[in-house]
Symmetry: C2
């Protein structure tokens, strides 16, 4: 029986399975939507990954990830733009709903977050024509402020939507509850995103108290403090009724369990909390 | 020789010294401004703490901390308000420039951050008359969003200033670079704070890359990615020329070094980066 509206970001089971194994396991659990990472695609080959998607009729709710635009020298920034264009092509080959962008933090040695943010906007502007030509939406994922230095200098929905507004169509946002749940402007910015048809993805997990690691201690839905129901209600009010994609990095817990236990828990908790 | 404009938040050397020892050490290093925590005051007694301050002419740039308003039941919220009134009295006894408020996160078991934020505003409103009667400014310290669940649901300067605007005079903000450096609205909100005469304290340290612990891995000025000079310039443009208070929680590094080494480094880095 298909679990309607649930997608699994394959990072959630990256320690247990490769993409082919994970996809097969998802089908066993009635999950027909997935979101792979580029390294997972590369490990089995783009052609084989695309075949798995096509043959099984998977919805690919996103390819993770493009981005990482800021760099200290122009050559490195140009290389990042080239790499992002390849990521767009891969997302097309996989028939993904969007290419997720983790935009990048500060260049090594820099303390100028304003300059990094400008590099992000410039980088996205540089790849947007290619994305539009391929009809591949770009989804800016604002990351939690604790990643501002090393992963993404776009840290709020407001900021991401300002970039979208400046650049026009073909671009929107991926709303991951882990990154945005604390934002005092959350619900008004979700409404703004919906009004502009900018919501391209909705990622779920939970914020644990305490959190033991800045990157690899995300919680399963229901184990933390995020009001998933309230956020989903806002997102649906804003007009987005697409899949909820579970994305959990959990070095000490979920990555150590069997993949089947993880997927069964994702299904159970999704049903309880969506 | 006095180090003008430098204050030491005594949490920075809390593992090495009690308040009396720390104060004496500060004088050795030419530091004439300090900010103790309530537990440090309590450990030597309020009377003795006040004597140390008065006899040595210390500036007390803040007492840490009041706050922690949200709670699941009304009795606990009332107890928090009583405790905050005692904190105001202690701040007065120490002739502190302000009482710093770490407002509190979610009540146990709650996922309703909006309700927690309302409890914060209500709690501050309840203690403000006492603070005004004592002429003791209250400084809301917005904490980094990674503390939204367990320490403070006020996570941006904008949010703190909205509370100030709603409540009137006798209240302002403590601007700690660690908590706000990532904020896309940082410089405009500093200007707003200055225009309203709301800047009561300026705390400094640095954001390390990588950061190994959410709470106890703050860096010494210059060891991380925060543009301290740019933030200070904004704060001075906004009309605040008061002390910069070093506040570093560092379980694995600075708390393990000799207190004299820590203070000497604070002086050196303050001179290099202010």
């Amino acid at each position: 029986m298909t679990v309607e509206g649930l997608s699994i970001n394959l990072a959630t089971v990256r320690k247990q399975w490769n993409m082919a194994e994970a996809a097969e396991a998802c089908l066993r659990h009635g999950i027909t939507a997935i979101a792979p990472w580029r390294d997972q695609v590369e490990a089995i080959g783009l052609k084989e990954a695309a075949r798995i998607v096509a043959d099984n009729g998977f919805q690919v709710t996103g390819l993770c990830r493009g981005g990482m635009f800021p760099a200290g020298d122009p050559e490195a920034r140009a290389a990042a733009i080239d790499d992002n264009k390849r990521a767009i092509d891969e997302a097309c080959a996989l028939n993904a709903d969007c290419l997720v962008l983790v935009v990048g933090g500060l260049p090594a040695g820099s303390k100028d977050i304003g300059a990094a943010r400008n590099m992000v906007a410039d980088g996205i502007a540089a790849i947007l024509p290619h994305a539009r030509a391929c009809n591949m939406p770009l989804a800016i994922e604002p990351l939690h402020p604790m990643y501002a230095a090393d992963r993404a200098s776009v840290n709020t929905l407001s900021q991401a939507l300002d970039i979208c507004d400046a650049l026009g169509d073909g671009i929107g946002v991926a709303i991951d509850v882990y990154h945005v749940w604390w934002d005092p402007q959350l619900h008004e910015q979700i409404a703004r995103a919906g009004a502009g048809n900018r919501i391209l993805a909705h990622h779920i997990c939970d914020w644990l108290v305490p959190t033991h690691d800045l990157l690899l201690d995300r919680g399963m839905m229901g184990d933390g403090v995020i009001d998933l129901g309230a956020i989903r209600a806002s997102i649906e009010r804003a007009g987005y009724h697409g899949a909820q994609e579970v994305e959990i990095f959990s070095a000490e817990n979920w990555w150590k369990r069997s993949g089947d236990e993880v997927l069964a828990t994702c299904v159970e908790r999704y049903r309880a909390h969506h």
